[in-house]
């Protein structure tokens, strides 16, 4: 057994954004966003109401939100998903319940393997009506817009302020009756009952270590 994986336990609840460069197991609740470069496993007990982006996603629980998997998206028989699915590869097991758009396009280094060639430019929707026959040969290849799921690079802006390099707090600074204003940052995202924590009134009662 290797090192323990990042986990949201069954009884836990996270409201906000979870981002990272490792695998994550979710057994509990998440409301917000999940942005992962890694494998995301949503267990049968989990309820995730979030926009999900990850390298690989396995869903055995409940998801309300769009799911984008750069590589494979796997829905187990117990999956319940309301949202649009986008993946390089898709596996849906019988029993999974899905309501939403589905876009699967194999991602290779040189781009999608091939484009869809439409017999007729119909993409589900209104009742089909008989129309004039198309030309006898295969219809002109309709180049579907290439869907490129976001490949999240380390410096990619969408990861936002939480990926800014952490600067160690200045050592030895003593504030008396003042307010510590942590490094300026954008307010924490809604919705959450997170109290404003950036400013704290600190009364220094203890000595800091002897540093300038």
């Amino acid at each position: 057994m290797g090192a323990k994986k990042a986990t949201i336990a069954a009884s836990a609840r996270v409201r906000g954004r979870i981002a990272g460069d490792e695998d994550l197991l979710v057994f509990g609740r998440v409301d917000g966003e999940i942005d992962l470069r890694g494998a995301l496993d949503i267990d049968a007990s989990a309820v995730v109401k979030a926009r999900i982006r990850a390298t690989a996603v396995r869903v055995a629980g409940t998801v309300v939100g769009d799911i984008t998997a750069t590589d494979v998206l796997h829905l187990a028989p117990t999956a319940r998903v309301i949202g649009d699915l986008r993946a390089g590869r898709l596996v849906i097991e019988p029993g999974a319940r899905v309501s939403g758009g589905v876009t699967v396009e194999e991602q290779k280094a040189d781009g999608p393997r091939r484009t869809f060639e439409s017999l007729s430019p119909m993409l589900g929707g209104p009742r089909f009506e008989a129309r004039k026959p198309p030309p006898p040969q295969r219809a002109t290849a309709v180049r579907m817009p290439t869907l490129e799921p976001e490949i999240v690079e380390p410096s990619d802006p969408p990861l936002g302020e939480s990926q800014r390099p952490w600067t160690p707090p200045q050592r030895g600074r003593v504030e008396t009756e003042g307010e510590i204003d942590a490094a300026p940052r954008r307010p924490l995202p809604q919705p959450s009952a997170v109290p404003e924590t950036n400013k704290r009134r600190v009364t220094v009662k203890m000595k800091t270590r002897g540093e300038p």
């Binding site: 009884s11 609840r13 609740r29 309820v47 409940t62 309300v64 494979v72 319940r80 998903v81 309301i82 590869r89 898709l90 596996v91 849906i92 097991e93 019988p94 029993g95 999974a96 319940r97 899905v98 309501s99 939403g100 758009g101 589905v102 876009t103 699967v104 396009e105 194999e106 869809f116 060639e117 439409s118 017999l119 007729s120 119909m122 993409l123 589900g124 929707g125 009742r127 089909f128 008989a130 026959p133 198309p134 006898p136 579907m144």
Partner: protein, 117 residues
């Protein structure tokens, strides 16, 4: 009813093209091209290499070829690895195999269990 591809069924051979309404009371195996409306009393097979662009109703649908339109099944729609789907799939059970290409929708009633927490 279990699928038995060897059982005699109405078979639309490769090279055949049907435009219009196609109705089969039992099983239907499509190896050619169909454009229009398809109504199948039992199981519908869209073989690898076949193409269907239609409003489709069947008991059960297995897609191994190209399918576009809206495909409704009373029991299940199975999308195989060789399939290319540009359609809305409507069935109580939908399965998609690794390798299948798809761009469309899956419409099911999804009951979201509300957590009691």
């Amino acid at each position: 009813m279990p699928i038995d591809a060897t059982k005699p069924a109405v078979r639309l051979a490769r090279g055949m093209i049907v435009r219009g309404e196609l109705e089969a009371p039992g099983d239907l195996v499509i190896e050619g091209k169909v454009e229009g409306a398809v109504r199948v009393g039992n199981d519908l097979f869209i073989e690898s290499g076949a193409e269907i662009a239609a409003e489709t109703f069947a008991e059960r649908v297995v897609i191994a070829g190209f399918a576009s339109g809206r495909i409704s099944a009373r029991t299940s729609v199975e999308v195989r690895s060789t399939a290319e789907v540009e359609a809305t799939l409507i069935a109580p059970i939908v399965s998609v195999a690794d390798g299948a290409r798809m761009r469309g929708r899956i419409d099911m009633v999804v009951d979201i269990p509300e957590a009691s927490r």
